[in-house]
Structure formats: structure tokens, C-alpha cells
């Protein structure tokens, strides 16, 4: 089974949901499972486990175990957190789900950077996250994410 890594959360903020955290992971995982992928969630101790994943790997050392996992995986999904920079450093392409951040500024061209329209980007791209509010409607829907995954990875010989 081909492995897929999901890094679903950005840093926890005090008393509020991080505006970068994608709300439709379960839908995506359901679709990926249908396509027979082995799903590995990576994250920290204090993060919630997603439903229907195969393994939740916590606190992996990014110089060793996380790097090895990245090398083994077919593709990865993340929000705009550290993971897409980490994977880009090791030249491993994947899918990044942006919301209020502009991928032109914070993304990398080797990845598939998805968002639900520039109108959702926050005005102060370099401002503090504590000043940005969570908005579920600002995220791209899971169907489009899966379509992009199929186009660029599942049905593609490119990667």
C-alpha cells in the first residue's frame, strides 16, 4: 500500500482555533482510503487524532524518523504549517491547503498549493495570527482537493 502523510494542524493558538486548520480532513481521508492508501498522521502529543487514519506518529525527530517517513511516502498533505517547508527542503512534493495565507508568499512552487480564492486572504499577510479569525467557509472543499490529488498524483506518472 502506498503511504500518504497528513500533517493536519498548525500551531495551537491561545483560546482560539488556528485559522489555518483545515476542517474537512475526514472527507479527504475517506476518499483516500477508498483509493486504498495507507494514511499516516504526523503531529504532536497535544493534537487530535483524525478519524480513519492508519497510524498517528507523534513527535517524530525531523532529522531522522520523519525524514525517513517522508522518503517512503507517495504523497503528503498539510496545511500551511512547518511540514511543507520541511518536505520542500527534502524536495518531496505534496499538497498544501492554504486559507488566509497567500501561497505566492508562503508556498513553494514544487507543491500543489490550494486555496479557496484570494478574497479569503488576510490583509496583513505578515501580521500576528492572534488577530486573524477562523472561518470554515474560507477553505477549499475536499472534493476539489481530491480532484487535484488525482490529477497531480494518483492518476499521474509525474511523481
Amino acid at each position: 500500500m502506498k503511504k500518504i502523510i497528513i500533517s493536519p494542524y498548525s500551531n495551537k493558538l491561545q483560546n482560539k482555533e488556528n485559522p489555518k486548520n483545515y476542517p474537512f480532513w475526514n472527507d479527504i481521508i475517506k476518499q483516500l482510503k477508498k483509493m486504498n492508501y495507507f494514511i499516516i498522521q504526523v503531529g504532536m502529543d497535544n493534537e487530535d487524532r483524525l478519524r480513519n487514519i492508519d497510524i498517528f506518529e507523534k513527535n517524530l525527530d525531523f532529522n531522522t524518523t520523519l525524514k525517513e517517513l517522508l522518503n517512503q511516502c507517495f504523497c503528503w498533505f498539510s496545511v500551511d504549517n512547518f511540514f511543507h517547508h520541511f518536505a520542500t527542503y527534502y524536495n518531496k512534493p505534496g499538497i498544501v491547503i492554504f486559507t488566509v495565507s497567500d501561497p505566492k508568499l508562503f508556498g513553494h512552487s514544487q507543491n500543489i498549493n490550494l486555496h479557496n480564492g484570494e478574497e479569503n486572504f488576510r490583509k496583513e499577510q505578515y501580521g500576528l495570527w492572534s488577530k486573524s479569525e477562523y472561518n470554515e467557509k474560507a477553505f477549499i472543499n475536499s472534493k476539489k482537493v481530491i480532484e487535484e490529488f488525482c490529477k497531480h498524483f494518483h492518476n499521474s506518472n509525474k511523481f
Partner: protein, 618 residues
């Protein structure tokens, strides 16, 4: 092919000088291999010298050249005439008032030559050297020396401006050194025999000295003129225009050519150079000396103040001086020459009659145990030349030493001295140079002297002074257990005089560092990453370019929140964010924030490109 060409200029003194000189050369030199050439330049002799030389030539024409010049032309010109006929790879200059003494054949030439084999940079060897008081440069006396022919090829012949003679050897040695050649005195066990005015050592040659040019009626004028030339060509490097002869009289020459003065006491003289700090920090400095658990023998205060006053008549100082007297600490207030603190410290170095000198800035206040601790440590090891305490700024937080602080001379441009910080471990550390105030052995400092080429603000003067000690194989130490407080005082002092002078001094220091000491300086490049792991990885993407750009002559230091990101990069040193902020202040956080930079510059491209521009200027 001749290997050696001996050139002897001669003017009269046939019987008392030239004949004994030539006879001794013929006796103790092997000319049979035809690799040694003898050139005698007779100029203006009227005592039968030329007839003697004619006869000599008939007997030794295979290796002897005789040049006759009608008028006396002086030493430099006569040597230069001889050089026209010198074909050896090495040229030996010899005065006619020298005489070789009993030895195996060629020992004198071999002794002069042998060091050239070991040191390819060597340009000149000789059997006597001195430090010129005008230029403060060591030079070989040319009454007997060997000069590699290459040196003449590179820097030219003797400077004939010094005719009839005096100072041409100083000038030539300085020019040779400036061109990268080393000079070396091969003589050992040099001393002045009791009651005599000449120097002898293990080198098998006697030098009568003080004949020929010394007999000229205007000899003093010639010396004066040539001293002026030395000043003109090589800068005024000494303070009082002491004549060489006087220097010889004052100094005692001992083993390994170390020149020292007589010491009367094993105790300590404190040297303070002060300027316009009568009513600010100077009294505090004196008070702190009074409070030392081990008092010094004497305090020398060199006063460079603009409007000097008689300190004895000022109540505050009168009180302090009274306490000094009651504690049997001598003191002397000396009117400075207003040439800056380097001259004052040089004067202190010369005037002090104690084994140790405690150089103390007039805005420094050592804690009571400082002198005792410094003395305890320096007396443990004869090889310790100088030792300093911590020098902590009274108005700044006393931070712990950052991991990247260095006491190596090549790291001087880091601008971070280990004496400025509290040390995590209290071990005494060996360093390459010392800062501000320190205790030193007079015999370690005296042969070097202060660098009088610097401007009156004397930027880097203590670095040069102490590193020269280190170069002379003295150990330099910092004792982090003891503290001297540096009081911030904007009025007075010497360092705030002129930024242009500071830049001039820095340029001179750089020349010394790179050309004379052959040190390749390193610079410090720090990066502060006060952001997330993702930003760290993005920075890591451009790190190879940073390393390529800077690692050649920089130490690269990263202070960051997630050091593990960079743990696999060998070319960088990791430090804490606190260490960087301790050194550069809180504002460094904002200055080094990539997001602040992006915001300020309305950056509308990728963050990766922003980093390339911010960190690499791309």
C-alpha cells in the same frame, strides 16, 4: 659562481683597522673554492691604503676586487659602489674596523648563512641588533651583516641620503621588513663587558666602533640630520628622541638579545593616563587603588588634561594623596605631552622601576582583590607576560559570555572580548591579547614598547602591545574571578576624540595584523531566527549559499528557536537567542525579523526570495 660577496668600504685607518681586518679575513675564511668574493671599496684614503690594496690585489686577484674612488663618499655610497661588482647570492657588509677572532675557517660566514636555509623569508642576518628609538623598529647593525641579493633586487640599494653614514642600516632593515623579509640577529650571549662601551657575544668578530664617520667634526649634525630622515621616511615612533648611544647606555643587553632595564623592585607601578577627568572618574580610580588588598609601590599619573591644575591643591586629591602617603604608596603626577595615552603608557613603561606594571585606565575601578589576584597568578609562572581581569561596564547588564566569544587575534574583528562578560566557568584562560587594564611584566613589555605609530586616541593600542608580547612567547591570561569596573563617562578620556583617527588607527592595525603578523582575520556573521520551524527550514534552503558566501573568512553563528534543524550543518555554530541579544541588544530581535522586514518593504514575492534578499542581498 660566487655564493658570497664581502664588501668592505675603507677610508684611511690602514694600520689600525684595514690591515688587521683583512688579515683576519684571510686567516679565517676559505677562498680556495672560489665561491667567496672580497670587494674592497677605498674612497679618498690618503694614508697608503691604495698602495696596500694594489699589493693585495696582486696576491689574491682570483677572488679580490679593489675599487678606488678619489674622494671619501661615505658608507652607503661606498657599499652601493661595491654592489655593482658583487656577484654572490649573499652579500656580506663589513666595516673596516672589524676583526675576525680565532675560529675554524668560515665559521663566521656559516653562522650568518645558516638561518637562511631554515627560513626562506629571511633577508638579513647580522651579529648585532637594536631597536631604533626613532622608529621603534628592530634593525641589524651593518658593521657585519649578510643580505640576500634578492633583497637588493626588491628594495634597492642603501639609501645614499644617509651619507656619510648613520641610520642607513635602520632604513634598509625597515624597507626590507616592509617588503616581507625577516631579519635575524645570529649572535648569542651578547653582553657589554664591564667598563667597556662595546658589545660582544658568541659571534667570532670584534668591532672597534666609533672610527671613521665618528671622527667627522660635524658628526652630531649628521646624526641629527639622519634622525630627521628616519622620522621622515618611517614616522616618528619614539617619544623623546633618545640617541642610539644613550639607549645603549641605558639598556643592558642580555641573553637571547632581550633588552631590559635594571629593576629595583619586584613590586608594582600603576600607570594611569588621564585626560579631563579630575572630577569624574579619576578620583574613583585612585580610590580603588587605595582599597587594594595588596597595594602597589607607586602610582604614575600622566595628565594630558586640556586645562591642567595642580592636583595637590585640590581638596579631593589632597585627601586621596594623603591616604596614599599614609599607606606608603608613592605617587607622581606627570604632565603629559598631550600626544595621547600611548605615549603616556610608553613613558610609564620606561620610568617604572618595578618588575610589574599595572596599566589602569582612568575610568576603571578595580575591585579590592584585583591586584592581589593578578600578582598571585603572574608569579606562578615565569612565562606569563600579562594578566587581566574582567572589565565590566557599570551601566550594562552583566551578561554571561556568549558561546562565540573568542580571544584569538584572528577573531579580533568579532568585536567581542571575553573580558567583557561573566564567565560560566571560572577557569583562568589563555588569550592572544588583552583589553584596557592589565598587569604585565616590565621585561615582557619593554623590548616591544607601545605602538607609537597610532594616533593620539590609540585605538587598538593595548591589543597590539599585548599581542606583541604573545608573539615574543609570553603567555597572556584572563582571570574571570576578578572584576574591574568600567565607568561610562562621556567627558574626557581619549577615545572619543575623533572618528577619523579611529579609522586611521584601525587601518594601521589591519596592516600590522595582515602584513606583519600574517594573520588572516575572521569576521563574525550572526543570524537570529526568532520564528517557527518552517521558517527555519526555509532559511536552511538558502544556507548553502550563505555558507558559500561567508565561510571563507567568517565565523557563521545562528541563534534560533529550533537548533536541531541545523544540527547537521558543520559550517555553522549554533548559539542561543539570549547570547545574541546579550551582545547586540534587544533591538537585534526586530532588526533580524524577516517578517518585520517584509512588512516594512511591502514584500509581495515569496518568503524564500525575501530571505535571499534579506540574508544574501540577492
Amino acid at each position: 659562481m660566487f655564493n658570497y660577496s664581502i664588501i668592505i668600504p675603507t677610508y684611511n685607518h690602514l694600520e689600525d683597522c684595514l690591515k688587521p681586518c683583512i688579515n683576519s679575513i684571510l686567516k679565517y675564511t676559505d677562498f680556495s673554492n672560489l665561491d667567496i668574493q672580497l670587494i674592497i671599496v677605498s674612497n679618498g684614503s690618503t694614508d697608503g691604503t691604495d698602495d696596500y690594496l694594489d699589493e693585495l690585489y696582486q696576491n689574491y686577484k682570483s677572488f679580490l676586487s679593489v675599487i678606488k674612488i678619489d674622494n671619501p663618499i661615505g658608507f652607503p655610497k661606498a657599499i652601493n659602489e661595491g654592489l655593482k661588482y658583487a656577484f654572490g647570492k649573499y652579500v656580506i657588509l663589513l666595516n673596516n674596523d672589524t676583526e675576525l677572532i680565532s675560529q675554524f675557517k668560515n665559521k663566521w660566514i656559516n653562522t650568518l648563512y645558516r638561518p637562511f636555509v631554515k627560513n626562506s623569508n629571511l633577508g638579513i642576518t647580522g651579529c648585532h641588533s637594536l631597536t631604533c628609538p626613532i622608529t621603534n623598529e628592530e634593525f641589524i647593525l651593518f658593521f657585519c651583516c649578510m643580505i640576500k641579493k634578492e633583497v637588493f633586487d626588491q628594495i634597492g640599494n642603501l639609501n645614499e641620503s644617509f651619507s656619510p653614514g648613520y641610520g642607513e642600516d635602520i632604513d634598509f632593515c625597515i624597507r626590507a621588513k616592509n617588503a616581507g623579509f625577516d631579519i635575524l640577529n645570529v649572535n648569542s650571549n651578547i653582553h657589554i663587558p664591564k667598563g667597556q662601551n662595546y658589545v660582544i657575544g658568541d659571534f667570532p668578530l670584534n668591532h672597534k666602533g666609533e672610527v671613521t664617520v665618528h671622527e667627522l667634526s660635524n658628526w652630531e649634525e649628521i646624526k641629527q640630520k639622519n634622525n630627521e630622515l628616519l622620522k621622515k621616511f618611517h614616522g616618528i615612533k619614539n617619544k623623546k628622541g633618545i640617541s642610539l648611544k644613550k639607549l645603549m647606555e641605558e639598556k643592558k643587553i642580555v641573553k637571547e638579545n632581550t633588552i631590559i632595564t635594571q629593576l629595583n623592585s619586584k613590586e608594582v607601578t600603576v600607570g594611569i593616563s588621564t585626560k579631563d577627568r579630575y572630577y569624574t572618574t579619576l578620583p574613583l580610580t585612585i580610590q580603588s587603588i587605595i582599597n587594594q588588598t595588596v597595594p602597589p609601590r607607586k602610582i604614575l599619573i600622566f595628565d594630558d588634561s586640556e586645562d591642567q591644575i595642580n592636583l595637590e591643591q585640590v581638596g579631593l586629591f589632597n585627601n586621596l594623596f594623603s591616604v596614599l602617603k599614609s599607606k606608603y604608596i608613592d605617587y607622581e603626577v606627570i604632565t603629559g605631552e598631550k600626544k595621547g595615552q600611548i605615549f603616556n603608557h610608553q613613558n610609564c613603561l620606561e620610568l617604572a622601576k618595578t618588575e610589574y606594571i599595572w596599566r589602569l585606565d582612568d575610568d576603571n575601578s578595580p575591585e579590592p582583590n584585583v591586584l592581589e589576584s593578578l600578582l598571585n597568578e603572574i608569579e606562578k609562572d615565569e612565562k606569563i607576560g600579562a594578566i587581566g581581569s574582567l572589565i565590566l561596564d557599570s551601566q550594562l547588564p552583566n551578561n554571561t559570555i556568549p558561546s562565540f566569544a573568542s580571544s584569538k587575534i584572528e577573531d579580533i574583528f568579532f568585536g567581542i572580548n571575553i573580558q567583557w562578560f561573566i564567565h560560566k566557568d571560572l577557569k583562568i584562560k589563555e588569550v592572544d591579547h588583552l583589553y584596557s587594564s592589565f598587569l604585565y611584566r616590565k621585561k615582557a613589555g619593554f623590548p616591544i614598547g607601545y605602538c607609537l605609530d597610532l594616533s593620539k586616541i590609540g585605538f587598538r593600542e593595548e591589543t597590539i602591545f599585548t599581542y606583541e608580547m604573545k608573539r615574543n612567547n609570553w603567555k597572556l591570561l584572563v582571570n574571570p574571578n576578578i572584576i574591574t569596573w568600567h565607568f561610562r563617562e562621556s567627558e574626557g578620556g581619549v577615545r572619543n576624540l575623533d572618528n577619523n583617527l579611529r579609522q586611521k588607527d584601525e587601518a594601521l592595525f589591519y596592516q600590522k595584523l595582515t602584513n606583519e603578523w600574517k594573520i588572516t582575520p575572521r569576521y563574525l556573521k550572526t543570524f537570529l531566527l526568532y520564528n517557527g520551524i518552517g521558517d527555519h527550514f526555509m532559511f536552511k534552503m538558502i544556507l548553502p549559499k550563505i555558507v558559500k558566501k561567508y565561510s571563507n573568512n567568517h565565523k557563521l553563528v545562528i541563534g534560533c528557536c529550533h537548533p536541531k534543524v541545523f544540527s547537521d550543518i558543520e559550517e555553522i555554530e549554533l548559539t542561543s537567542i539570549d547570547d545574541l541579544i546579550n551582545v547586540y541588544g534587544n533591538s537585534y530581535l526586530e532588526k533580524s525579523c524577516i517578517y518585520t522586514w517584509c512588512k516594512k518593504n511591502n514584500w509581495n514575492d515569496s518568503l524564500l526570495n525575501a530571505m535571499k534578499q534579506f540574508y544574501l542581498g540577492e
